[in-house]
Homo-oligomer: 306 residues x 2
């Protein structure tokens, strides 16, 4: 799957992923109204609204953007119905040949991580059947529990040719609280980055590993360093746009081959129609606004790749 | 909810939680067969099997055990259908007046943690409605992202009188890989423990905080130290039984009041009928075997409380 991701990035010329992280308040009034008319002000109604909203955006961007990253929390907040919308979104994006990164940030002791791995990127045995429940292409994983919490994910990656991105340095303001603390003179995130490189050695695609890393756009100095520590790890870069990261800060997240990083924007793309710059599209044209914002983002990022 | 938990522990005399972490291989043949006959060898069939299995165990233990801890990964591995079984299990346990700890280990940047908090222990706004989607009493949370990934959970705890347990020192063999690394001469888990104590100050119940901690039974020395660092935090103790922890090792997880800790066993209880000690109950009597194993565990733990 890492090969598919690099191929798609090369083909589209867009090292960009759109975060499908719908809040109900992002969804244009006409979509919400229709969903509530059909299903009421219920979890089902909310799920229908975010699904229709997603579908419009995916249709508008699928030819220019290689990947999407649905944040499962935004669906889980609507319970089972929301998770059905998550699954529909995953399936729909895959039918459009987009790479799907499930932003699930799971991670637990070995036997539990194995269950998450099976549920999201693998197959579960039910009697004589083998079924892929959520079937994302990649997922994000939390490293706090160490190697035996990670291994079940890399095992499934090897079997299924899927991938993971492990949290190394996250984009949020207080990420430094633990991640920046010095251990033998170097911050925790460097130690995690070294492990990511090590875990990834056994899962190599053509040039890059199936085991990638999450490094926030909001910490470019750390990005530069981590790029060197994990030369074969693809870096998933959240925090561009609404969280403050800018294209020009991101040059050092890429390798000399112009690859090795994929930059995410969520609100900046899916909620573009609410920004002054794209207001002319109006709520009815929200998907076209998202497309234009994606084009502008791709140009901004590519100027950084040089 | 922390008050309800301490009250229930006092009333039952059992500082014990049963981990409802069903693998399909744990479920007795007669239950699996019936579920497959009705729903086929499908995710729905698997979900029906684990739900019926859970129900039998809950009916058998609900009068002697104060709380359950369903591990959501074991349901998520069966996709949407599995998550429906999770939700049914949560609702059923609450109808039996058990405290439900959703072992979800979520945690992300602020806005995303807020969505998880709303989905699991809070309420989501849908039009004019306010709906509690999963509605557990407590959940477990991962601290890797720092304060702004935790605050949305404590905010919801305050509003809804729910609670969280934050991972401090996990029970798995490689938990030390990052958690034990020394920062200013003290391991990372101590620093996390200090933050847990701090985060919990604002969410006090009668004697204990709504913000608790996870400390594995497999690390009693660390448990003793963390008990002192977080005097007002309830400690959720996984790793007893199948993972190797023993009652006599757990005395120091409790405070002088005999409270302050709740010990989890999963396989050791729900899969008791497969152990030599409880084999006499047979597969048909799996729930009675679980009850007997729970009684034996309660006695073992109480001998440690002194």
């Amino acid at each position: 799957m890492i090969n598919k991701l690099t191929d798609k990035i090369t083909k589209t010329g867009a090292p960009v992923v759109v975060g499908l992280d719908p809040m109900l308040s992002y969804v244009p009034e006409h979509i919400v109204k229709k969903a509530f008319e059909e299903f009421g002000e219920t979890l089902e109604g909310a799920a229908e609204a975010i699904w229709q909203y997603n579908k419009g955006i995916v249709d508008a961007i699928c030819d220019i953007v290689p990947a999407v990253k649905p944040q499962i929390a935004m669906y889980e907040q609507f319970g089972i119905e929301g998770l059905k919308a998550f699954k529909k979104t995953v399936d729909y994006c895959k039918s459009k040949d987009m790479v799907v990164i499930g932003d699930v940030k799971r991670g637990d002791i070995g036997s539990t991580s194995a269950a998450y791995a099976v549920g999201h990127i693998g197959r579960v045995k039910v009697g004589g059947q083998s079924i892929a429940p959520f079937d994302e292409d990649f997922i994000t994983v939390n490293p706090y529990l160490g190697t035996d919490g990670i291994k079940p994910f890399t095992d499934v990656c090897k079997e299924e040719k899927k991938g993971i991105f492990i949290l190394v340095k996250t984009s949020n303001p207080s990420s430094g609280e633990f991640q920046d603390r010095l251990i033998e003179g170097r911050p925790l995130y460097e130690h995690v980055g070294e492990q990511v490189a090590k875990w990834g050695e056994e899962c190599m695609g053509n040039g890059y590993s199936y085991v990638g890393a999450v490094v926030g756009a909001t910490y470019p100095e750390q990005g530069r360093l981590l790029r060197k520590i994990m030369p074969k790890a693809f870096i998933l870069v959240p925090g561009y746009g609404a969280q403050g990261g800018k294209g020009k800060d991101l040059a050092d997240y890429f390798n000399a081959d112009g690859l090795g990083a994929i930059v995410n924007s969520s609100r900046g793309i899916i909620c573009a129609y609410k920004q002054e710059e794209y207001a002319k599209f109006g709520a009815e044209g929200y998907a076209d606004a998202s497309r234009q914002a994606a084009i502008d983002m791709i140009n901004d990022i590519n100027s950084a790749r040089g």
